[in-house]
Symmetry: C2
Subunit: 439 residues, 2 copies
């Protein structure tokens, strides 16, 4: 079929998008990530991608799942294929409470809202709370998909730095005090306490009460995003922020990393009054999450050794983390440093001054290795000396080879920098919208 495309503009000065003047203000800042085009190249098999955040699903019991989805349609197809409530399937909400109990959360299933992945939860929470110009505090760096949602609602992000123990309480207090002095409305702290994306660090348990206390003092809600909490490599879990402050924390959970990302099942646990509004917001966003998908997750949880399955995932990711850390140790030039994650998917690398990770990316892809450059994880243009390397998807052998290639590219960039000064100048860059490549 042929497409009736808009006719060519008559002059080079005319805008290519005839709808340009019609867009909402929020749409103006919506531009594709500059690195998106590169990912088309990066997805070629000869390129080792350390850029993506796709979970490794190879350990999933596909035969069992295949039989289960068939049963659901055969036995309960008229329910599975029908509209459901925006709140979510009740039995799944009960099971979600059992999962959250592993991190010390006591919750009532009524206060859980099932969402189309936790990305939708994030979007809904931002919709409920953020007027244009409101401030959201987030770790620096932060999850690229969160920055995308905040931008969609025209919220302003203020980053607070982390160290090896996660978000630094004194810096959080400082940021909140400054915002208050400046008369800005801070709506919430967005935080990923466990196995941070992209930083790979975990918020120290002894800091948690203090973070909660600071937010309470400043009358700021806490949005706790915890997709990786059960992926601690030694099986360790940490007490959720929500577990000790149920009235002031909205908690986001997901089955994308512990079961199957392609089903898009996540959830929000919220204080009661917020939960009611979340359901209304979710109705206007998607009417309801897919019923079938919720039933699949529910049956899987009810019939499968899902904790054993998560253990398999953990062991798999631990092997890959080990492969990456040892390769970084072996290959990366002096002057580079990186975080040492105890769980999750990511290592955050800082390169020597003079190297710009975004400018370097095309050269890396040419050398058949890809990564996510750091600027995408900041709303304020920071991050040009950082990159995120993910070890979740490639095999340990590919990871080693990828790091080896990356090291060679880095060496040559550093050579150039030593000879000619800084390589490539970085422009200030806003948040990029997420893609599965940068989840």
């Amino acid at each position: 079929m042929t497409e009736n495309r808009p006719s060519k503009p008559q002059s080079g000065r005319q805008n290519l998008d005839p709808h340009l003047e019609r867009y909402a203000a929020r749409t103006a800042g919506m531009t594709a990530s500059e690195i998106r085009a590169l990912f088309a190249v990066a997805s070629r098999p000869e390129v080792v991608s350390l850029a993506g955040g796709m979970p490794n699903l190879a350990a999933l019991p596909l035969d069992t799942l295949s039989a289960q989805v068939a049963e659901i349609i055969a036995d309960e197809g008229l329910v599975a294929l029908q509209y459901g409530s925006a709140h979510g399937v009740p039995v799944l909400r009960e099971q979600i409470c059992e999962i959250m109990a592993l991190e010390g959360i006591k919750a009532h299933p009524d206060d859980v809202v099932v969402t189309v992945g936790s990305q939708m939860g994030l979007d809904m929470v931002t919709r409920l709370f953020c007027d244009p110009g409101d401030v959201v505090i987030a770790e620096g760096p932060s999850y690229v998909g969160a920055l995308g949602s905040f931008a969609a609602y025209q919220a302003q992000v203020v980053h607070v730095a982390m160290d090896d123990q996660g978000l630094v309480p004194s810096l959080l207090r400082e940021a909140l005090d400054q915002a208050k002095k400046a008369g800005r409305r801070v709506k919430f702290l967005y935080t990923i306490p466990n196995f941070h994306n992209p930083a790979g660090v975990t918020l120290a348990v002894e800091r948690r009460a203090e973070i909660l206390e600071i937010c309470r003092e400043h009358n700021v809600l806490v949005v706790e995003d915890n997709p990786y909490g059960l992926l601690g490599f030694d099986g360790q879990t940490y007490p959720a922020l929500r577990s000790t402050d149920p009235d002031n924390v909205v908690y986001l959970g997901s089955f994308s990393k512990t079961f199957a990302s392609g089903l898009r099942v996540g959830w929000v646990l919220a204080p009661h009054a917020v939960r009611e509004k979340l359901v209304l917001a979710a109705e206007s966003a998607t009417l309801c999450p897919p019923t079938f998908n919720q039933m699949i997750v529910s049956r899987y949880l009810a019939t499968h050794d899902w904790k054993g399955q998560i253990k398999k995932f953990r062991e798999n990711y631990r092997d890959r983390r080990d492969a990456m850390l040892s390769a970084l140790e072996q290959y990366l030039p002096a002057g580079c440093s990186w975080t040492k994650p105890d769980g999750g998917f990511y290592v955050w690398v800082t390169v020597p001054e003079g190297v710009d990770t975004k400018a370097m990316l095309p050269r890396a892809v040419t050398a058949r290795v890809a990564y996510a450059s750091g600027t995408g994880f900041y709303a304020d243009g920071f991050g040009s000396r950082q990159m995120r390397l993910s070890y979740c998807y490639p095999t340990p052998e590919r990871i080693r080879e990828g790091v080896r290639r990356l090291a060679a590219v880095l060496e040559s960039e550093m050579d150039l920098a030593r000879t000619f000064g800084s390589v490539g100048t970085r422009q200030i860059q806003g948040p990029q919208t997420p893609s599965p490549d940068t989840v």
Copy 2:
């Protein structure tokens, strides 16, 4: 498990929601439909619900589908359960173009974006185009879920009346001229041309070019929502607005009424530049639509006689429409009037002056029949003499019995009105958020 609920307020004057001052402005207007509580009662088996918009799925080939979903997981599980692109599965986008060709649309698969139901498409289009205070023109009455999305982005709805031939072009022109004079920014016309929800009418073919021309003249985009287009009872289809004006129409489609609503697969066909922004908006909303669900729809379309299936659906709905129209004719008191749909799910009934359909609803539910009162389908408080009756879900026998009960309630309301004047006074009422009961 027990829930740590917020402690009881100390005084009756204290607000029950401690987060109240934190919400965004858009959240203030977000309140649950007053009739929602009634639906809990209305869903009891002894109540005939003419309120819901749930498709009747009984004719679906569950055995075939059961085998197909099993195959997808067994053969391609690692793809089906993995993240995909926000744009949607390519083969499905091609198939969607073939479906749209039935209504005269020539489109390129690149310009199709798969969404989590067409509700998400609607939400994304509103996100792209509407700043707070912008005007959206919509038929009066209009789809309750659309009103919910418009409210979520603080757009103002201006209703334009329909007659038996659908939206009235002269009134559309008048509304646009008035908005222009008042200096208001009209962003788009939202229209459901075929088998309208809730009005049950279809836009006359001879009006379509004129509607498009008026919108072009006024530099206003057209958002064409067409979930029922293939459900014309005589197999008739109408040329989509998009078919003759590809540059100025955004088209919304859905598999919810022609296949399975619980999979939540819909789509948007948009002019090229708009489509690029839609993909970015969709990424920040849900990252991607569920991969598995798209593969299910795609395989169903590829292997099943889906046109034959739609024919079965049509015949089923035609029987029910017939049952409803003949029951209305037989039972409803003089002074009532209603539309006569040639397709889709709904009849729109106007009752005599003095009867308030919303005030009457509790009495109807007590008499074991439920309907959707008209005010929910207007953003401006109109509709208190209207109600939507849906014939999609109950059997013909139940429909007849429901209308019989409804007629008795109406008679008694009209008696009261004759004796005491108007029954119950209506307050002005904003849009209600949608629920599957009012889809």
